[in-house]
Structure formats: C-alpha cells, structure tokens
C-alpha cells in the first residue's frame, strides 16, 4: 500500500492482430500516483507511447465505474488484479508498491480470441444471450410494484444474478476456461422470476448448447470463478442451471 508516488515496471502483452505472435513487452512508468486507477495509469503510459511515436496499447474500457464489464485485464495472474469484488477500472494504484513489476495479459480462452494487445473478442457471450437469455413476449410497461408478488428471497437472488456485467473474468480465471458462471447468472436472473417461467427449461437447454458450441471448457467446480467475480456471482447459480438443464433433458417431454 503506497501513499507516495511510485515507479513501476509493467510487462504488457502486445499482439498486433489475431493472427500475429504476441509477446510481453517491458515498460517503465514513473511517478504513478496511488490515487490513479489502473486504467488511468495505462492512459498515462499510452500518452507517453504516442508522444514517442509508438503504437499505444489497446485495451477495452467504457464506463470506468464497474458497471459495463468492458475492462478486462489479467493482472499478476488474476483477472481484474489483486482486489476482490472490483473491476480493473476500479482498481487503484494504491494496491501496488513502489518498485513492483506488474504482468498484464489479455483474457485467455479459445472462445475469446485476442483482437489486439489486451482486447479480446467476447461476442461468444452475446451469442449465448441471443440463444435464449431473454423473454419472448413483450412485457409492456412497468407493472405496479406489487402486481406480481415475488418472495423477497427470490427477488434478491434474481437481483444478485442480474448483477453480472458479462466481463468474462470467470472464464479468464477458470483453469478450464469454462463459462458456467456467466451462463448460469444469465439463466438464473430469469429462472427466478415469474416472467421467466414459460421458457425456463427451453432457455437453459439452448443457452448451454450455445455455450458448448463456442468452445468454452467443462466446469470442474474449482470455485475460482466465484472467488474472482467482481460482482460476487455465486456458484448456487451453476447448481440451479444444472438442475434446469436436467429438467429440460430428463423431465420435460419437449425436445429443443
């Protein structure tokens, strides 16, 4: 924990495009304020690179307040860095010490090919959602708050599942590059609410099929995803998805 400005060594993955061979490149950044965010430090480094006529480092970012899920850096062997329940954009440099060497890599998964440097293609997630992560009927205007009574515990669990920002840290950290936590959160947020019931089992089946087709690995319940998820999505969602999947396959008479 530093309160003084720091000098750091970064080892950043550089790769010109999806086909190219990438490698880690060393950068010195000096006079880094502990109050900077991790991305602001990258902004400073990129300004520097541009001034020198070098190619700036490409990385994904958008909201910079932990809600969009765009930022995606694998920092010193952990997605979104060393702190729990924060995204890379909300990680501050006070989490590091003067003289530290920080390794920054893109998410690594067959289903998340590198676009350039630290930016990866996460459209596999979009296709999983497109396979069934929605409700087909128009739900109309917002209902009166108490028109459909939902038990508090149920709505809390749905809300917690809905907190997933689709950042992909779960895939990035999983030794199997499995997308079970993400997919289960997106299935659960609907499976827990009345509006999600009519398509519940069909949805579980289609989204799991798409997840497999994208080339994510198989879950072995290591729990790494839950530990690293910036939104604290729970493994209970994976168990719920498994139950819904078994229901679709072995209980339901319908076949999708």
């Amino acid at each position: 924990m530093s309160t003084e400005n720091m000098n750091l060594t970064l080892k950043v993955w550089r790769q010109t495009d999806n086909k190219a061979q990438g490698n880690l490149v060393d950068y010195k950044v000096s006079d880094v304020s502990p109050d900077m965010s991790f991305l602001e430090m990258f902004d400073v480094l990129n300004e520097d690179l541009i001034t020198k006529g070098d190619d700036p480092i490409v990385f994904d970012h958008d909201c910079r307040e932990g809600i969009c899920g765009a930022c995606s850096m694998y920092i010193n062997g952990r997605p979104h860095g060393p702190k729990e329940l924060v995204t890379t954009c909300q990680l501050h440099m006070r989490s590091f010490k003067d003289g530290d060497t920080i390794v920054v890599e893109p998410w690594r998964a067959k289903a998340f090919p590198v676009i350039k440097d630290l930016a990866v293609d996460r459209t596999a997630f979009d296709r999983i959602i497109a396979a069934g992560g929605f409700i087909s009927v128009n739900t109309g205007n917002a209902q009166d708050a108490n028109a459909i009574p939902i038990p508090k515990s149920q709505s809390d669990a749905a809300f917690e599942a809905a907190a997933c920002i689709a950042c992909g840290a779960c895939v990035a950290t999983c030794k199997n590059a499995s997308a079970m936590l993400f997919t289960s959160a997106k299935i659960s947020q609907l499976a827990l609410l009345p509006q999600g019931q009519p398509e519940r089992y069909r949805r579980a089946q289609s989204m799991v099929a798409q997840m497999d087709a994208e080339g994510f690995g198989n879950c072995t319940n290591t729990g790494a995803c839950e530990a690293e998820c910036p939104k604290g999505i729970s493994l209970e969602n994976i168990a719920r998805m498994n139950r819904d999947f078994y229901h679709a396959k072995f209980v339901s008479e319908e076949e999708v």
């Binding site: 694998y74 952990r78 890599e105 030794k175 080339g215 994510f216 198989n218 072995t220 790494a224 530990a227």
Partner: protein
C-alpha cells in the same frame, strides 16, 4: 419423437456422468474399507477371509461388481476427456497465473490425482482381484477358507508396494476432498442448509477412508497385524 438428445455429450451431461460414477465409487469404497478393516481383529485374517468369501459368492455383490467396473471405466474415460478438452479450451497459457489465490490445488489437479489412482488401480487389481477371481488363491486358512489374508501379507512384505499404496491413498484423499462435494454441486444439490453438512461429511469421509486403507499395508509391513 422426443429423445434425450445430446444430454450426455453436453458439458453438463459429461459432468453428470462424472458425478454419478464418482458417487458410486464412493459408495463402493465404504463397503471395501469395511470388509478390509476386518484384518484389524488381528486374528490371522480369519474374520477377514470370511468376509472376503461372502463377498466373492454373494450374487448381489457380483452383479454390483459389474456395475462398478462399467462405472469406473466411464469415470476414467470421461475424466481423461475432460482433461484434454479443458486443456484445449485455453490454447495460449498465461505467463503469470496465480491459481492458489482463488482455488485449492487439488481441485485444479483432479486429472493428475485421478491418473495416479489409475496407475495404482492397475497394480492393485492385478495384485488382488486377478488373484482372487482368476488365478486362484493358493492357500486355505485354519477354517478351510481361501486365505486372501495370506496373499495380502505376502504382498505387503515389499516396501516398494507399501509406499505405492500409501501414496495412492494420499491421492485418493485429495481426489475426494474435492470430488465428494463437487459431485453434489454437479447434481445441482447446492443448498444453504445441506451444503455445509455435505462438505463436512465429505471431508471426514475422505480422511477416514484413506487413512484406514493406508494403515493396512503399513500395519502388515511393520508386523503389527499378522
């Protein structure tokens, strides 16, 4: 016509097979450790030989043995498939990967621990199962029962074999420390009230079963049981 479709080729279906066969192996180990623990009566193996004879001639047990073998083969096949598919799901490895920050090493090493168990199983089955089922147990005990205990005593005079058995039981303990609770999660049994009980039970199951098994070769080698 509706069918089960691709239920078992999907990632969750594959895990379901792992979980069910794993739990079946866990049930089998309870019976196995119970019968083998009869050697601790230290009566020259008489009680144990009686138990072994019962197991060898009871048709329910013999039928169960077939299910067990099919299950074991399915578990091994599916397990190795998971290992290779999961490796392929991350073609480019991380330069820095801090796995211990978020998960237990043995949960990340199920394939390795399982492979160690597989090597052990090949030695173990040819040492005992092949002898008792096919090539025949050479001697009889005082009661005229086939003396499986004598086969055991004979094998466990070899320090190398004893060490192999103990190491295999360490692998088993770690395989089950993760596998026991993992199987329930795979089956979808994650529950605020039951999961802590399952985890505690799985912990003690793994330790007790592995320690009891490991004590057998050690006790015979050191001559405590004879």
């Amino acid at each position: 016509m509706a069918s089960f479709g691709n239920a078992f080729s999907s990632s969750i279906g594959k895990k379901l097979i792992m979980g069910i066969t794993g739990l079946f192996l866990i049930l089998f180990l309870i019976v196995h450790v119970f019968i083998n623990s009869l050697i601790f009566f230290n009566d020259g193996g008489q009680t144990f030989n009686q138990g072994a004879e019962f197991m060898a001639h009871n048709w329910i047990i013999r039928a169960g043995e077939i299910v067990l073998f099919v299950g074991l083969l399915a578990h091994i096949y599916q397990g190795l498939r998971l290992v290779f598919e999961n490796r392929a799901a991350r073609p480019v490895k991380y330069a820095a990967y801090n796995g211990s920050a978020n998960s237990k090493w043995y949960s990340r090493s199920m394939g390795l621990l399982g492979t160690l168990l597989l090597i052990f199983l090949i030695v173990h089955l040819s040492d005992f199962w092949v002898v008792s089922r096919f090539t025949g147990i050479p001697t009889e005990d005082a009661l005229g029962k086939e003396d499986l205990f004598a086969v055991m005593v004979d094998k466990f005079q070899n320090l190398g074999i004893v060490i192999l058995y103990v190491l295999a039981m360490v692998s088993l303990a770690y395989h089950l420390l993760h596998g026991f609770a993992s199987a329930f999660q795979t089956l979808g049994w994650n529950h605020k009230k039951y999961s802590p009980i399952i985890r505690a039970f799985g912990f003690w199951y793994s330790i007790i079963i592995s320690v009891l098994f490991a004590l057998m070769p050690v006790a015979i080698y050191t001559g405590i049981i004879k």
